[in-house]
Amino acid sequence: MQLPDFQNRLALPDEILLSVEKPARYIGGEINAVKKDKRRVAIRFAMCFPDVYEIGMSHLGIQILYEMFNRYEDVWCERVYSPWLDLDRILRKEKIPLFALESQDPVKDFDFLGITLQYEMCYTNILQILDLSGIPLLAKNRGADCPIVIGGGPCVYNPEPVAPFFDLFYIGEGETAYRQLLDLYLENKAAGGDRKQFLLRAAREVPGIYVPSLYDVTYKEDGTIASFGPVREDVPKTIRKEIAMDLDRVPYPDKPLVPYLKPVQDRVVLEIQRGCIRGCRFCQAGQIYRPVREKSLETLKEYAAAMLKHTGQEEISLNSLSSSDYSRLEELVDYLMETCREKKVNISLPSLRIDAFSLDVMGKVQDVKKSSLTFAPEAGSQRLRDVINKGLTEEVILQGAAMAFAGGWSRVKLYFMLGLPTETEEDIWEIARLCNRIAAVYYDVVPKEKRNGPVQIVASTSFFIPKPFTPFQWASMCTKDAFLQKAGLTKHAIHEQLNQKRIKYNWHEADVSVLEGVFARGDRRVADVILKAYEKGCLYDAWGESFHYDRWLEAFAECGVDIGFYNSRTRSRDEILPWDFLDCGVSRDFLWKEWERAQAQILTPNCRQACQGCGARQFGGGVCFEKREDMDS
């Protein structure tokens, strides 16, 4: 009798795999996963997204770096995700070291462990990854037997709250300086250099690299920073972000991984541009990714076709901060609609402005009756939208809604933020009134016999969290109680509206926002709290079911760290902010000017209307060098 192969060559034995919730999270071997012979590569790189597999697998940035590293013949890049709570317990109990998916080898055997920091609430998961890998949590305790632990991603624009856990941070886009870093690593190794020597040379020689152990910080009596700087003369005082200027020439995953488990984003993702021209004052991405750089239409067509062919995915989605601003969107969408109809592929178009063009496209690619329209006014009143520089006017929203209702849509989603600087009760009432007016438009525009059921409006609010490198980096944030009060008022105000039955209201958890605020603008002292909270069992804080606010509050108290100091204080212009040593290209003066304009409720034109001289022109390309003759300035 010929039996099939059931040998287990995985890191986890059958009995463990069969006892956890989704064993497919841990077996690797997905379509397009890269296998190499480990004896024939010089560098093994473990790339980690510190959240559960289905979330991490959906992330484009990791796939881009995975592609880039694996194109290097001498490097094998593998993936690591956070084991879910069930496996976490087993790994600790059975003392099984955390492993990378492709080779199933322990993470500790790798040369590098790169961890991407996409949101602050993953910080305890970083410690889980290190801990389960058998790597000391604090960089200063690591020896020659440990991989170099690198942090990257948007949160490294303030790396300080997690600085002690990392050997180095890579600031900015990964496509530019990694090869140099790897070459330096090989050279140092060949010359018999140790870990310390490598880190020192990386800090000195490789652009965009921040080695926290080479910088020292002192504090004033009031808790603010007195000084921050390198401990040696030859280490740079400021570190400028890395940026890829020609997006047609950077590696792009034309063979993205196809997981067995359904990931959060079960589709291929086409990145059409980076950056955003708009400059909304609360938005960090809008500043740190400046300037806007587009990919050419030809490149995008080529990638779209290749990705669909190599994955067999049924859906393609455009990725950018504001797709409507891509200069050749119509041509791109026409092309995609054509190919996708042929191949029976769905198109999803997030981040599109609602206008005649987008409604026409959406009408063609989705089922109007089932889909909903999304507006993100962010604030209820025009006054407050001017404060945050959100160019969307009520007229535009109501017109868009009217067009959409006429086109058959009857569901609208609206996103707002509560607790924005200068917000008053009147601004909150305006959220409710705006929802009500949109509902009224439906009854005005759509005659009774043509109505596809009643109009449905879903208003969601999140709590405003000031972020580094935004004009609001100096602003104070609301307390938990203030947030909840605002959410209560929003609810009440909606109830008072004529169409209140047609409006559903959701709001975010306030506890998590409070912590996110501390992590976003914290300094190195916050690291103690994160470590303490992890020791108390905090993990997967972004997941409601495993979030324990009480443990966090205990950790803050035990470390003597005051939440109010980080969240409830308006900073002065001359205060040294923990992230001031980083340079994202946008100048501090520009951000301060924007902070003043915000308080004076003055709108700032976008990059295509009139350059504001934010500083990002220094990178020598992108929107800063577009011709503006035909634009009004």
Partner: protein, 238 residues
């Protein structure tokens, strides 16, 4: 045209659940550029059915799915292209056309056809063998009742497996048996091995066994006189 595909599932793919296996095939068929028939509407999907879900951890050399194609270049071409698009752990074993049904009748899908399944059980680590108990298999089968306890929402239910066990013997160190499946009522292979060990009075640690599905059968006979044939036998070469 309706096409019946027989495949195996083994190695690390033992840990892929049924829904994920379906998604894997949907994408593999697209990568293989097979002209699968789609449903109409806003989100068209492939016309595809599977015979019987395989439990997590099991491997198989007798899995089936039916698809419908609008055009093709022969079974050999289809098989080759689908194989090339499949991950390690899936082998395409046969590709056959289901004959056009008689007028006013529908093709019976793989799922509706299943009436029995054959399994093998072996010790994973090879340290023990069913050969030690080869002589007891007949005695086991000669019982009039083989009672198995099943946990259900309404509490523990006891069922008599004996009528549903069509055949059982030891071969090459493996326990090989055929049980009712699908429309006839489903016996899980674990129930059979548990009862076998209980009969022997032998304790075997959980997870010591690897279960392998060998084949899925359709019944072409009558209730009194069943005639089991592998599902692939209902298809034709093309």
């Amino acid at each position: 045209m309706k096409v019946r595909i027989k495949f195996s599932k083994y190695g690390a793919l033992r840990f892929i659940g049924h829904l994920d296996l379906m998604r894997t095939f949907q994408k593999a068929l697209r990568r293989a550029d097979i002209d699968v028939t789609y449903t109409t509407g806003f989100s068209p999907h492939q016309v595809m059915t599977f015979a019987a879900p395989l439990g997590m951890g099991l491997c198989s050399i007798g899995e089936y799915m039916d698809i419908e194609v609008d055009s093709h270049r022969g079974a050999a071409d289809l098989k080759e292209r689908l194989q090339a698009a499949c991950p390690e752990g899936i082998d395409i074993l046969s590709v056959r056309a289901l004959p056009e049904p008689e007028p006013n009748k529908k093709v019976i899908s793989a799922m509706a056809s299943v009436s029995a399944a054959a399994y093998a059980a072996v010790f994973k680590d090879g340290t023990r063998s069913f050969s030690d108990w080869a002589s007891q298999s007949e005695a086991f089968l000669s019982q009039t009742e083989i009672l198995s306890q099943k946990e259900s929402k309404k509490g523990t239910v006891t069922v008599n497996l004996r009528p549903g066990i069509r055949e059982l013997h030891v071969e090459d160190g493996a326990l090989v048996f055929t049980v009712d499946a699908g429309s006839r009522g489903n016996i899980r292979p674990e129930q059979v091995t548990e009862c076998f060990f209980a009969f022997l009075g032998v304790r075997v640690p959980a997870n010591a066994l690897q279960l392998i599905r060998l084949e899925l059968y359709a019944d072409r006979g009558t209730p009194e006189k069943p005639d089991f044939v592998p599902l692939e036998a209902l298809g034709e070469e093309f």
